[in-house]
């Protein structure tokens, strides 16, 4: 092999190596991450945004529940079905995680393909989880911490809002979120 060609080959390998390292570092540091688990007849997608883990599931044979149709496309003139689900896993968390954890799970179940958000309001302040797109199985699930959306001490009213372009459906949680120090 000519010396010039060998030099080009070595430089090429070094270039590929550097690019690989950059891609690797980018992938572990990037704040948005997607992991797709595909098991037999079951597809669950997990995304991470701003520390919040978002889980949805595409249409599958082992369906998530009876609210989804398996389709994630929805006509723009369709009203989303009234949201339901576990809007907060614990209504009395502690900010410092003691004695009750400050980590939470929230689920919104509505029409596949629309977006849903969980809205927390207190004294004119509003904090939101999402909006996130609902998967084909009719739910979006968030694993999050109080600090992720800057929830402070106090009593926050909870409302889930499903949105499809300009059409919305809402459900209030009759029990408020009482954040304690």
């Amino acid at each position: 092999m000519p010396r010039h060609t060998r030099k080009l080959l070595v430089l090429g390998l070094i270039f590929v190596l550097i690019i690989s390292v950059i891609v690797f570092l980018w992938s572990i540091n990037n704040r948005k991450r997607t992991v797709t688990t595909t098991a037999k007849q079951n597809t669950v997608t997990t995304t991470k945004q701003n520390g919040i883990r978002i889980t949805t599931s595409a249409g599958s044979d082992k369906r998530d529940d009876n609210s989804g149709t398996g389709s994630s496309t929805v006509p723009t003139n369709t009203n989303p079905s009234t949201p339901s689900g576990t809007f907060v896993s614990n209504h009395r968390p502690n900010l410092d995680g003691q004695p009750a954890p400050n980590q939470m799970n929230s689920v919104c179940k509505t029409t596949p393909g629309v977006t849903c958000e969980i809205r927390f309001t207190k004294d004119g302040q509003t904090k939101t989880l999402g909006p996130s797109r609902v998967g084909g199985d009719g739910y979006v699930s968030w694993d999050w911490a109080l600090q992720d959306i800057d929830l402070t001490e106090g009593v926050w009213q909870i409302e889930a809002i499903a949105m499809n372009v300009d059409k919305t459906s809402r459900t209030k949680d009759p029990v408020a979120l009482e954040v304690r120090l």
Partner: protein, 626 residues
């Protein structure tokens, strides 16, 4: 899930037919505990043959002669078999009660009775599986057909039940698919849970909104049913169907009962009530009626369901009447048939013996040839007094007056009674059964408690020996008074108190204490009562926590059999919890983290849990029930 959209006429006709064909019972629907998991997981409740026989009783059933592919597992199906075999197979595949499948099929599409206006048009979506919560149910080829609907719908109910109680490893061996990969997004029971094995562990308080109400997920199957049908009405319908067909959703016990009401009279016309304070003459008759609710899962008939003497069972009774069926069987069920959830009647007569004294007789229901039912501790305490003997129903003793064995003083408000018991102990009771004070002289052979002319109150035994006294001699003319404030006092002739048990109670305070439980524990045989004693919350010896109105039981925790509670704890965290002997929670109010709280039985009959701000945390929803 919603049923299919029907034409208005069809809906009206169909609903009428469903009502006509479904036995109507008062479902004991508790939105926080739709079904006990032991019932949900009772796979052996019906064989395929029993399911077929059950279907055969409905002439219009869509399933009695229906055949469908045999489900090998979730994805694979074989040649045609009967619908009963398909249901039985689904029960085996996932470990689910086939009765749950039958009730779900009826709830979703009425195919069990086949009495809806649309007949059997919805066999392809029979379990409502893959049907959205709103709108029409699409016929998806991947899920259509009776076998797929039953198999997949049952799977969904089961996996949700397992995940909601924290079991992330449920993976039945008959199914080749790895169910651990399934991401569960439904309601959770209280505790640390994962939605899937690789999802974060989160703490769940087990509470979530259903139709605008906050609902506690009291069991895994409760969470599962709300996952399957996220509405109260649909699940009420399910419980109605299940209870009318198979009995309680809370127990797998075949024969169990709960007292609805009891009446006792001293005349055959049943106009003069008999109470625990009533004395009767020797040979008198007492006419009784017991209303008992069938909370087991078997139907009662008079051929075997009877009232028997108990404590111990089949004890020969001193109160036997000539009307009894046998020495130890006062009566049988009055009605021809009482199904699960329905109420039966037992009329019988007790006959007082010929001698004076006191007699206590215990009774229980017995399914002759099967088993004694759960013993709720039903008894009657009868005082027989010969009119020829002096009787002590006054509130005072003076000047050599005495009460003899089994006689008593009764306060003028009838709330306190001082009795010389046959065991030798002199006991002051309040509210008929609460011991306030006693002389600790049991195991003696008593003769009389006498207020001597010297002012000393003395208890003598049969040998004439004084075994207890107040030491108040030297007060000639003194008298003993059982007061309406509950205190027992000896007054001198000058009306000066010279001795008392010092147990004064304020009637209002008494009521206040009895109506409310503050961070304490209620044990069997203890109760909370309303001030007027019309309503009562009782933790029974059978482990059931029951609210009684003046006439019947209006709410219960249905903690019987293997779920019998032995204490009710109002915890400092605000949760009201029933624990069994093993210290396991068998029922709770789902109010964790909201304490401290107080539990009160209100004058309107509602049992309410309040927090420190007087906000309602939980209630039995029994206000105004008679």
């Amino acid at each position: 899930m919603k049923k299919k959209l029907l034409a208005l006429l069809g809906l009206v006709v169909g609903f009428s037919l469903i009502i006509y064909n479904t036995p109507l019972t008062r479902a004991s629907f508790n939105p926080h505990n739709i079904m006990n998991d032991a019932v949900f997981n009772n796979t052996s409740s019906m064989s395929a043959e029993a399911i077929q026989n059950f279907l055969n009783q409905f002439p219009s059933s869509c399933l009695r002669n229906y055949s469908a592919p045999y489900p090998y597992h979730y994805f694979s199906y074989g040649g045609n078999v009967s619908a009963a075999t398909v249901i039985r197979r689904a029960a085996d595949l996932w470990g689910i009660n086939p009765q749950v499948i039958l009730a779900t099929l009826q709830k979703e599409s009425s195919v069990v009775t086949g009495t809806a206006s649309y007949g059997c048009a919805y066999m392809n979506t029979a379990m409502g599986f893959n049907c959205p919560d709103s709108g029409a149910c699409p016929v998806d080829p991947a899920n259509a057909g009776f076998s797929q609907q039953v198999t997949k719908g049952s799977w969904l109910l089961k996996v949700a039940t397992e995940r909601s109680v924290g079991n992330i490893n449920w993976d039945p061996p008959l199914d080749p698919d790895d169910d651990r990969n399934y991401y569960y997004s439904g309601p959770m029971t209280q505790g640390y849970r994962q939605r899937r094995y690789d999802a974060p562990v989160q703490y769940y308080d087990g509470v979530q909104p259903i139709d605008g109400q906050s609902v506690s997920m009291g069991s895994g199957s409760t969470a599962s049913f709300y996952f399957y049908t996220p509405h109260l009405s649909g699940n009420l319908n399910f419980v109605n169907i299940f209870e009318s067909w198979f009995g309680s959703t809370q127990t797998t016990i075949p024969y169990a009962w709960m007292l609805e009401s009891q009446e006792a009279y001293i005349d055959s016309a049943r106009t003069k009530p008999f109470t625990s304070q009533t004395t009767v003459t020797p040979g008198a008759k007492i006419y009784l009626t017991i209303k008992a609710r069938n909370i087991g899962n078997q139907t009662w008939t008079p051929s075997f369901l009877r009232l028997g003497t108990s404590g111990p069972g089949d004890r020969l009774s001193g109160l036997k009447d000539v009307s009894w069926l046998a020495e130890t069987r006062p009566t049988a069920l009055l009605e021809g048939s009482v199904g699960p959830g329905q109420t039966g009647t037992f009329n019988f007569i007790l006959s007082a013996p010929g001698a004076s004294g006191s007699s206590t007789e215990y009774f229980n229901l017995v399914a002759d040839g099967h088993v004694w039912l759960n013993d709720i501790g039903l008894y009657y305490d009868i005082n027989i007094v010969n009119p020829s003997q002096p009787k002590s129903t006054n509130a005072e003793l003076s000047l050599d007056e005495a009460i003899l064995v089994n006689e008593h003083l009764l306060s003028n408000d009838t709330q306190s009674i001082l009795r010389l018991q046959s065991d030798g102990n002199v006991v002051l009771y309040r509210n008929f059964n609460q011991v306030v004070w006693n002389t600790s002289t049991q195991s003696t052979k008593p003769n009389r408690l006498i207020m001597q002319t010297d002012g000393n109150l003395v208890l003598y035994n049969q040998a004439g020996t004084a075994i207890w006294n107040t030491g108040t001699q030297g007060n000639t003319g003194a008298r003993l008074v059982l007061q309406t404030d509950g205190n027992l006092v000896i007054y001198s002739q000058a009306n000066t108190p010279i001795w008392s048990i010092n147990k004064v109670h304020n009637p209002d305070l008494l009521n206040y204490v009895n109506t409310t439980l503050y961070g304490k524990v209620l044990y069997p045989n203890q109760s909370l009562d309303t001030a007027d004693r019309r309503y009562k919350l009782a933790l029974q010896t059978d482990g059931n926590l029951v609210v009684y109105s003046p006439s019947r039981a209006i709410w219960s925790s249905v903690t019987l059999g293997g779920y019998a509670a032995t204490r009710l704890a109002l915890q400092t965290d605000g949760n009201l919890v029933l624990y069994n002997n093993a210290g396991q929670s068998v029922w709770h109010s789902g109010t964790y983290g909201k304490g401290p709280a107080r539990l009160t039985i209100q004058p309107d009959g509602n049992l309410v849990l309040y927090n420190g701000l007087n906000e309602v945390l939980w209630y039995s929803n029994t206000a105004g029930q008679q």
